[in-house]
């Protein structure tokens, strides 16, 4: 996966470099198709990022990153149809709260929480795109995307040092749902065929995860059987794009 991303990015670098020859951009021209590689920081919020051991809505997720490919087919100078395939990954937050919580809940001497897998989602979104050219090199763009989200919730192993047989695992879980993304950005043309864009997107989905355990026997501490909270927040992205003019 990492190698593929690196190769794609390097290919894009070469394309951009080759097109940086003395061709003058003009945002006033109608673009035909824009292809872009995008990536940046993802900052979720809400219950998904809460770290209250006793609140089953807590998701113990932290900020992460997103990468993706995006394409926009322009109907006219301003309006187009945008599609985005992106991968979001979120970090862990408050694992110490979980370790302390289980230690207290089971009245044990020491506990360790080991994460299994990661929190991520794959997004397949499509929707209208609006571009407002301001001068020859800059445009203000916005988009509203809806589509499918394949979300994954990390698993966790709770290891009790003084009672090794007590170790149990909250298994990883996957759920499919609908999602949306609403974004604005500024697009700057470096050459006639390439440029960069800085954009901020609000993302939202609410997957319904089914949570299963391995060797979970006694009812003590956090024990959730489902997790159905919004995964929502802001993406701050840099997009490198390539334009095909009609």
């Amino acid at each position: 996966m990492k190698q593929q991303i690196a190769i794609m990015s390097l290919l894009f670098t070469i394309i951009c470099a080759n097109n940086a020859k003395a061709q003058q951009p003009n945002m006033q021209d109608k673009p035909g198709f824009i292809f872009g590689l995008t990536g940046g920081l993802s900052a979720p919020g809400g219950n998904y990022t809460k770290t209250d051991f006793n609140d089953p809505k807590s998701g113990f997720a932290g900020p992460g990153f997103n990468i993706g490919v995006t394409g926009t087919w322009f109907i006219n100078k301003n309006w187009g149809i945008n599609a985005l395939i992106s991968y979001h990954s979120y970090s862990f937050k408050g694992l110490q709260v979980l370790a302390d919580g289980f230690k207290d809940a089971f009245a044990i001497d020491s506990s360790t929480v080991n994460t299994q897998g990661s929190n991520y989602s794959m997004n397949f979104l499509v929707g209208p795109y609006y571009s407002l050219p301001i001068g020859k090199k800059f445009s203000f763009d916005s988009r509203l995307l809806v589509g499918l989200v394949n979300a994954h919730l990390a698993g966790m192993q709770m290891f009790f040092e003084d009672q090794a047989a007590s170790t149990f695992t909250q298994k990883e879980s996957t759920a499919n749902t609908f999602g949306l993304q609403l974004g604005i950005g500024g697009r700057y043309a470096i050459s006639k065929h390439s440029g960069i864009m800085l954009n901020i997107d609000y993302f939202y989905s609410k997957p319904d995860f089914s949570i299963n355990y391995e060797n979970r026997n006694n009812n003590a501490g956090r024990w959730i059987t489902s997790y159905n909270e919004p995964i929502a927040g802001l993406n701050t992205n840099l997009t490198l794009y390539y334009i095909l003019h009609p």
């Binding site: 020491s110 994460t115 960069i196 003590a220």
Partner: protein, 186 residues
């Protein structure tokens, strides 16, 4: 100049993606705290099911958590009538503090077990249940049933069974181990 800038930007972008794409497993440890308090006293109160005025009490005390000083068993004697049923409650103290409610709060991974010495005509059955998915006995309340006159001992152990409680005494560790003398008389 522009070409260099583009290459620089794209390279930074590539590096950021590669760095971010690393999947990092994380671990958090809650280490042990020194100086955990020990349970010092177990009090058994037995009330005759057929005669509520017939209440028997026995107390087992060990104030030295290191075990260097032997427990005080002078009051750890339970005198019961033959052919009788007793409703039993168990109370636990940590020095002078009653910690029975804490054990009740943690009922889903605690279990009292009774080991009756041979020749003693006594059966002990836990009567309370916890709130596990399949309710399991706890032992804070019990039913002691006597038959013929006899003497012996009953060893009462409190088992700590975090996520391994299954109704048997074997899993987990022992929080408290007290032996009472039992006399069944006419």
């Amino acid at each position: 100049m522009k070409k260099k800038k583009i290459i620089l930007l794209a390279s930074i972008f590539t590096l950021l993606i590669c760095w971010s794409a690393c999947n990092k497993k994380e671990t958090a440890i809650a280490p042990p705290l020194p100086g955990n308090e020990a349970l010092t006293t177990m009090i058994i109160t037995a009330t005759n099911a057929g005669d509520s005025t017939d209440v028997r009490t026995a107390k087992w005390i060990e104030l030295d958590p290191t075990g260097a000083t032997p427990p005080d068993t002078s009051l750890a004697v339970l005198n019961l009538k033959k052919n009788a049923s007793y409703n039993v409650t168990i109370q636990l103290l940590d020095s002078l503090t009653d910690v029975t409610p804490e054990i009740k709060d943690r009922e889903n991974y605690h279990l009292f077990c009774f080991d009756v010495s041979s020749g003693l005509n006594l059966t002990c059955i836990q009567t309370d249940k916890d709130t596990n998915p399949t309710p399991l006995p706890i032992g804070l309340t019990d039913l002691f049933t006597t038959t013929a006159v006899s003497n012996g001992h009953v060893e009462v152990t409190l088992h700590h069974q975090p996520n391994v409680k299954n109704g048997d005494c074997a899993p987990g560790s022992i929080d408290m181990d007290c032996t009472f003398t039992v006399n069944i008389t006419n």
